[in-house]
């Protein structure tokens, strides 16, 4: 009974707590370990108020309409590109970030934010193939190529047991890579080829799914998925915990894949940029950064974090790709309004079944 009263009274308490220093973090859900947050709160004697989005585009839409009150955001590079160009971010004060030196230089000074004027890399994931090792071995299918997602010859054996991401940018990137082009190729003719490849493969796919595919993969209803590496890491943990006879493994396509780097940035109207910098510096410490990787299997651009990461995760080539794979990975770039329109028209056609 007390808990129920507490439940109703909690929102009222939130008004009282306003007096404390607060850092507003707008982040993906489960994208920071709870222990890390607690340690930061103790260190800075402040409160971290977290709100969540589940998609870069939701973040962009909300900020484009003028929402404010957030200090730190964690957009993926292409979304960050859009925010920078749209003047939505506050430049960071590098003098407040002595730990910036911990970041692997390969991830700094990217085309999205040369000189890292606005951003600091946070975590990464790859968009690859995830599969049920038992079933795929039975069917004798390759897992190191996008052909298993797009080629009807392979797909025949997978009919109704494969899903792809419900994202036009990710799916087009995979199709473009499969055709041998860059994932950021802007040639409309190449896009048309990619759309044709997708339409040919579509009848074999169970669904375009960005949210529930992990469940279905772990349970064994779906056998092969186009999805994110950290999702597959967790799916495998869950499958083992549930005692399933199969493992969920990654397949790294030899044609290459998309790398998604998420970055910490500060919103231009951040109420507490001082706390924001403290938070960034805190997360740049190897120990703190490693906690997330150990929790969800995300890639980590922090050199100093490597010694704190579990060895089995370090060895995983889908989380820490080797040099050969790295050279084939690409980060997605943002498109112009006109390009987005063309892309969306193709996507609508694909999804409408024409």
């Amino acid at each position: 009974m007390k808990r129920l009263v507490l439940l109703l009274a909690l929102p009222l308490f939130s008004f009282a707590v306003n007096a404390k220093d607060q850092l507003h973090l707008y982040n993906w859900n489960n994208y920071i370990a709870p222990e890390t947050v607690k340690r930061f709160e103790d260190a800075c004697k402040c409160e971290v108020v977290q709100t969540y989005y589940s998609d870069n585009e939701e973040l962009l839409a909300k900020l484009a309409a003028g929402a404010k009150g957030y200090d730190i955001l964690v957009p993926t590079s292409n979304a960050m590109q859009s925010l920078i160009k749209g003047g939505q971010l506050k430049p960071i004060d590098k003098t407040q970030l002595p730990n910036l030196k911990n970041i692997d230089p390969a991830y700094l000074k990217t085309p999205f934010d040369p000189d890292n004027k606005y951003s600091v890399p946070y975590a990464m994931s790859l968009t690859v193939i995830g599969y049920n090792d038992q079933k795929i071995k039975e069917l004798g299918l390759p897992t190191d190529t996008w052909a298993v997602v797009f080629d009807p010859q392979h797909l025949q054996k997978l009919k109704g047991r494969i899903t792809v991401l419900d994202s036009s940018s990710e799916l087009f990137a995979a199709a473009l890579k499969y055709l041998g082009y860059s994932a950021n190729d802007l040639d409309e003719a190449h896009w048309k080829q990619a759309a044709a490849v997708i339409k040919k493969a579509k009848p074999y796919w169970a669904a375009f799914n960005a949210s529930s595919y992990i469940k279905e993969l772990t349970v064994g209803n779906i056998w092969l998925v186009h999805g994110y590496s950290n999702d597959f890491f967790q799916a495998n943990l869950d499958a083992q915990a549930a005692g399933r006879p199969f493992h969920i493994l990654h397949g790294l396509p030899k044609e290459g894949a998309v790398l998604a780097v998420d970055n910490m940035v500060i919103h231009k109207d951040a109420p507490r940029p001082d706390l924001a910098h403290k938070f960034m510096n805190f997360m740049l410490e190897g120990k703190n950064s490693a906690e997330l990787t150990n929790l969800i299997g995300s890639g980590n651009p922090n050199k100093d974090a490597l010694k704190y990461i579990k060895p089995e995760i370090l060895k995983n080539p889908a989380i820490f790709p080797d040099k050969a794979m790295l050279s084939k990975l690409e980060q997605l770039k943002d498109l112009t309004a006109a390009q987005r329109r063309v892309r969306n028209r193709m996507w609508t056609e694909i999804k409408a079944g024409r």
Binding site: R3, L4, L6, L7, L8, A9, L10, P11, S14, Q22, H24, Y26, W28, N29, N30, V49, Q50, T51, Y52, Y53, S54, D55, E58, A61, K62, A65, G66, A67, K68, G69, Y70, A210, S211, S212, I214, K215, E216, T218, V219, N221, D231, Q234, A235, D238, A241, A242, G243, I296
Partner: protein, 257 residues
């Protein structure tokens, strides 16, 4: 002579079964010892335990309940007024304004309200969410109330007026009791809509405002764990308890006869 037609009972029973089979799964799976919760693995109370230590989730649930109570109360009041006005005074503009929020895609309404609040420099928070919810709930209440009024016997109200009652008295003592089932139906719909709303709430919530749907939807790409089933089950039961208590405290108000 009151007969109990078998056909009706069977059909209604089928309806209840359709409603409750998924719900049984929701409740049962809140005890499922599996993070991804896609298949039954084993029994555990662990998720309820986790839930009671999860301040974020509990606050979100509390916020949702609070907003839903306020939004349904205000929108029932305004919606009943609108329903009466639409029926009695043939208010055309009101009819359109009442029906359109139901038709308009939520994402458009969410974005437009956000832009509007930002223009007014209105701090986003629980209040902005409640205001938004009221706006789209009014229509549901109004339509049900008007449907209830349709075909209602006006002579009763006229008789009351002839006996010297003011319009207000006639409304409170004659009309309102007669339309009460419609008002209650509307209130229940408004509450349901508010407690479960995601899209509009997403856009109108402030930097620290979390409601339960916002919390849950943000988990959609990682794992909607049985903890969510647990909080859902509890919230459902809590709401039921609140309503049962309320109806016992105000029997005269809520009875329709």
């Amino acid at each position: 002579m009151r007969r109990r037609p078998v056909a009706l009972w069977t059909a209604a029973f089928a309806g209840y079964a359709f409603l409750y089979i998924p719900l049984v799964i929701v409740v049962v799976y809140s005890f499922n010892d599996s993070r991804l919760n896609a298949e039954w693995v084993g029994f555990t109370f662990g998720w309820y335990d986790k839930l009671f230590h999860n301040e974020e989730m509990l606050t979100a649930a509390g916020n949702s309940l609070l907003i839903a109570l306020v939004a349904s109360a205000v929108s029932t009041l305004l919606g009943t007024m609108a329903g009466v006005a639409m029926y009695r005074y043939r208010a055309k503009l009101l009819s359109i304004l009442v029906l359109t929020p139901i038709a308009i895609p939520e994402i458009l309404m969410g974005v437009s309200l956000l832009i509007f609040f930002v223009m007014l420099n209105f701090t986003l928070g629980l209040v902005s969410v409640a205001l938004a919810h009221i706006a789209f709930c009014i229509g549901f209440v109004a339509i049900v109330v008007r449907a209830r009024l349709a075909g209602m016997d006006e002579s009763l109200t006229e008789a009351a007026r002839d006996c010297g009652a003011t319009p207000f008295q006639a409304f409170m003592h004659v009309t309102l009791p007669l339309i009460m089932p419609g008002v209650i139906a509307g209130a229940l719909m408004a509450f349901t809509l508010s407690i479960d709303d995601f899209v509009i709430t997403f856009f109108t919530a402030g930097a620290g405002t979390v409601t339960l749907p916002l919390q849950i939807y943000s988990m959609i790409k990682i794992a909607v764990t049985p903890e969510v089933n647990a909080v859902s089950t509890l919230l459902m039961l809590l709401t039921l308890a609140l309503i049962v208590i309320a109806s016992h405290l105000t029997p005269s108000l809520l009875r329709s006869d």
